[in-house]
Symmetry: C2
Subunit: 659 residues, 2 copies
């Protein structure tokens, strides 16, 4: 049965959980479809994650391969296709613990960068798994800075081949997933040399393992890079190339080609490449950042409703820890953030889809804005969600620290999202570059993209709020965020110009402003998130109490941000100290209000117990019983440790006295 | 050889690294002693941590037991004793990866809570390892709130025994170290019942495993609680008691006793118990929080001096990432914090030693202050250092995410320090209670302990700084911190009083202020840390450049704190927006200054390569070579995965075409 402490939380929901779920999914039909996929996957024992917390890296890898192979069968059985409506729910259903994700990137890179002939040659066998692909870009010595990659590909005009080499240890490919143990082929990014001239980074298809017996091909040194903080199921690999020859046709040549005589021809637009990065960054926001935060919030909030500790009132029963203001202040802002980022993800997806349609019509105008938004939001959302998951973990005390809570693995996985697909600081600075440029353009009356049009708008000088209730007005706080973002962007742009005018060289001046530029980029994204949340709430048809609770969450998200970043709002007096006290008062009031719906609000995320894989977060709230049951399954309880015979027994017996 | 990029960093040190090391150690003689201990331990292959990152929980446990047993032998060989001057360096030398730490707590609790007879009976065999002890306090359902523990001990007057029981699942002991697989005995905390009356929590010595064959004793159910985020080497355990009888003499009875007829007698002062907690909290600051931050800083800063990525100036070589302002802004404040906390630890140790002398003279006056300081600093330092280690990890990009960097294990271990020995939020609120009380006393002219005397002092209304250089004056920034701490404490105390006066019940009012109370406690500790750093710097005799660089670090620590918490300084206008710009300017200037000495400053921590156990952090800076060498040793490279024969081969071969 359900723990009464959790059951009681559900009886007082101010809204319909089922309706909120459907709304979050984009309609009841989507909810039905999602649940059908999840159920089909979870019913199949091959996809079980039951023993995940007890498995070694080798076992995790084996399980991930098993699941990936089985998934092909499953999809066939179920009539699901890669392009079908179910596909977006499959990854969620398997909780990411599956192999061959890089195989998909391998195929995507060929589709995007390859000629029609190359696509025709490689995509059919790849989609049939007649080969397993990987994507070898990152090297030991170079990550985000692609121009610095050191692997070389020299064109040999006599044999019509490229000769690939790893000239030094830092040039070794390092990190590519599916490459350490699985892949037979990979796309290698290398500096192209023809007749001694370097043409920069180009992609080459290289076979690395035999299709017959999986042994390494001649000239290939490859293996697994060893243990990581998470992703034990992925065989991130290393790769050294020693005079590896591939035919001329293996350079992906949609945009540039080396002709038989060595003539280098560039053709078409490479702008689409940016669009690929943009697409990856936007798509990971939901699956790799927001979903884990939703899961962590579900676990921590349910646990906080059944964990009783200490007394709030003398003489009464011990209180649920969710009733403590400090616990609410840890968890409820994370809950609000999960909703806020779910909505900004919708906004970005829509923008991206619009951009994609434009690009298909050869209109690349939206690219700079999309690039800036995808970079900035990838950085800010992954950062925020990572902190949020950590807060949830710590808010569960000792039990949160057990792997069985599910929280450590969520944390150790989400933290990687701050690094991969572009290191967050570097991404923020790319956004900042766009913001400074847009600010300059706006100041001189030029037109700028919609997301930065606010930089040109006239601003009020002071926040008009007169009491704490005024701060529950979206206009009031959205304008405060806008003002703050404009101030940070404009003051940093001014500092940059001052430095340059005072004779500092442009690149030095840029470096001296980067701390503030990164801050400005964050402010921009924070503002857009608040604004989008408020607009989303305004558009909800007021039914079943959803608008009301979403309005509370929006207020909480906004006021939490002001409370936690008070300095940037107070700095120029836009918000006064007295007004900041009003913000604090309204913020703390909201905690007590949202606390009442906290459990229904996480229930609405609709995670199954299996997908949470948490002894603390299950729907029934039977946390202690489950912790005990799961712990007993641990390999540490499956055998008498050899440590007893080897060390403990001699220690105890050698000097054993009569106690 | 040393990587030239790291060697060059050492040639330009503005101070003598060796002299700084000696000063940090408390004298050259201490340095010599420490190095001798570290060398003896590291030379011994039993203590090797070479394969640590590849080991399973079972293997880690076995290694920890092996090391603990071997350490006894080693200490005997070397002539080291538990009380000797070497002992404090042993734990550092083995890097904590050793069993039987709870055995020590077992002995300490008997020494503190036991009568002379009990000490005479239990301490000699325990110190000879004729038994292995643990300390069973925490339960599944209760951690920090000890009064809520549910294990019972009922006195049976007919047999003169206590009958111990686990009445429900939440009462199961859960988490005690050394208990899951090793311990033969444990101190169990249970609610004492005599003739049906409950006398609250008392400690009982209970045997849980046979001294002959290590089997569980009758009525005992015990085992390991399974995988955790770290501490794989510790067998944290669970324990259920079913009518387990222990003789009357097994209740530790220095402070209270059940006499044969059931009469309950309380004697002496229990205040000393607080002192034990105080002692544990203070002692963990250095070993569990500051040392890991120093290690993480060493790894990240050395790596940042050899990692070159992207170009700072067009046409030049790629830049060391340590030359980027954003990288400096991540790492150098953590470096400054490590020094700041090392000094506050010295301050707390001294205060604690003084307190201990007073207590020996039966003077308990210092206890409340010591309790407040140890709680507040345990919370703030572990929190700060945990964030700091995370920042260091992320600042190393993808390679920081590899376990081989050493950073993930530092992080997953240090995060536990925020939870154990008192959950941080609860500790902060204990400090806050002391602060509010002291503030009230000070306002009415009563005398208060030295660390809170500042609450009574008159304060200037505005920060007098007129340019950015003024903010390099310790008086200026120390006063700013003091002002801010006083304001947060006084305004929260006022809110509390207002609520009570408006009719809110005392406990509700307290709960409604806890977010701000916790903030006030942090502000108090932050102020004392800055003040103590400035005073430490002022006392350094100006030799070998040490004072100068320490002054820079002190300035950086202080200004980083103002920059990062601008809101609390701006709130009442004590610091103006224009002054905050000066703070920012000075802060950013300091980054560039300290960057020059960054590597010598971490070298001075004097960690051996073995103690860092990091492919990125070694003294020679050969990071890529070492990552590759270590990765090849991974078990993921030791065998062909069964996944090939089972899954990959069938997949590839079933549909293999002629490629």
């Amino acid at each position: 049965g359900v723990n009464p402490d959790l059951a009681s939380e559900r009886q007082t929901a101010s809204f319909s959980v089922e309706k909120l779920t459907a709304w979050l999914d984009g309609g009841a039909e989507q909810t039905r479809l999602r649940r059908a996929v999840v159920e089909a996957i979870e019913r199949d024992p091959v996809f079980s994650r039951e023993n995940q917390y007890f498995q070694s890296q080798n076992e995790r890898y084996e399980a991930a391969v098993r699941k990936a192979v089985h998934l092909q069968k499953k999809m066939h059985e179920m009539g699901w296709s890669q392009e079908g409506p179910e596909s977006k729910y499959i990854y969620r259903a398997v909780s990411g613990d599956i192999a061959f994700l890089l195989h998909r990137i391998f195929m995507r890179s060929i589709s995007v960068l390859g000629s029609d002939e190359q696509i025709a040659k490689w995509i059919p066998p790849a989609s049939q798994y007649q080969l397993i692909g990987s994507y070898a870009q990152t090297e030991l010595g170079h990550g985000t800075y692609l121009q610095g990659l050191e692997t070389t590909a020299v064109f040999d005009v006599t044999t019509q081949e490229f000769i690939l080499n790893t000239p030094k240890i830092s040039a070794m490919k390092w990190w590519p997933g599916d490459m350490g143990r699985s892949a037979t082929h990979t796309v290698v990014f290398a500096q192209l040399y023809v007749h001694g001239k370097c043409y920069g980074i180009h992609p080459f298809i290289v076979q690395i393992r035999s299709l017959q017996d999986h042994s390494l091909c001649p000239g290939i040194i490859a293996g697994d890079i060893g243990p990581k903080m998470n992703f034990e199921h992925v065989d991130n690999g290393y790769l050294m190339l020693q005079n590896v020859r591939v035919p001329r046709e293996n350079m992906l040549n949609k945009f540039c080609e080396v002709q038989p005589d060595g003539t280098y021809v560039r053709r078409g637009s490479q702008k689409i490449n940016y669009f690929t990065m943009t697409s990856v960054r936007i798509s990971l926001i939901s699956t790799e950042a927001v979903t884990p935060l939703m899961k962590a919030g579900t676990i921590a909030i349910r646990y906080s409703a059944v964990r009783r500790q200490s007394k709030l009132k003398p003489g009464e029963q011990e209180a649920k820890i969710l009733d403590y203001q400090t616990q609410q202040e840890k968890l409820l802002p994370q809950l609000a953030a999960a909703y806020a980022f779910h909505f900004i993800d919708n906004y970005l997806q829509e923008l991206f889809d619009r951009g994609y349609r434009e690009i298909q019509r050869k209109n690349f105008d939206m690219l700079p804005e999309l690039h800036a938004l995808s970079s900035g939001f990838k950085a800010t959302v992954t950062q925020y969600c990572t902190s949020g998951v950590e807060i949830c973990l710590r808010a569960c005390g000792g039990h949160g620290y057990s792997l069985l809570s599910g929280l450590p693995s969520l944390y150790t996985k989400i933290i990687a999202s701050c690094i991969y697909e572009g290191e967050n600081t570097i991404l923020l600075l790319q956004t900042a570059r766009f913001l400074v440029k847009s600010f300059m353009a706006a100041s001189t009356g030029q037109s700028v993209p919609p997301s930065v049009a606010y930089l040109a708008a006239a601003k009020p000088r002071k926040c008009p709020a007169r009491n704490k209730l005024d701060f529950l007005s979206p206009d009031i706080y959205t304008e405060a965020y806008q003002h703050m973002a404009v101030r940070l962007i404009s003051s940093t742009a001014a500092k940059l110009q001052d430095l340059i005018q005072s004779g500092v060289k442009k690149h030095d001046a840029w470096n001296q402003c980067t701390v503030q530029l990164a801050q400005a980029a964050k402010a921009h994204c924070h503002y857009l998130t608040v604004k989008n949340f408020a607009e989303t709430v305004a558009k909800i048809e007021s039914k079943a109490g959803i608008q009301k609770i979403m309005k509370h969450l929006c207020d909480l998200f906004a006021l939490h941000g002001i409370f936690s970043n008070a300095g940037v709002f107070l700095h120029d007096g836009y918000v006064s100290g007295a007004q900041m006290d009003m913000v604090t008062a309204s913020y703390l009031d909201l905690l007590a209000i949202i606390r009442r719906d906290a459990v229904p609000l996480v229930d609405a995320f609709d995670f199954t117990d299996k997908s949470l894989n948490s002894a603390l977060g299950c729907y029934d709230g039977q946390v202690y019983q489950r912790l005990y049951e799961w712990a007993r399954k641990s390999p540490t309880n499956k055998q008498i440790s050899p440590a007893y015979e080897k060390y403990l027994k001699p220690l105890l017996h050698n000097r054993l006295s009569k106690l």
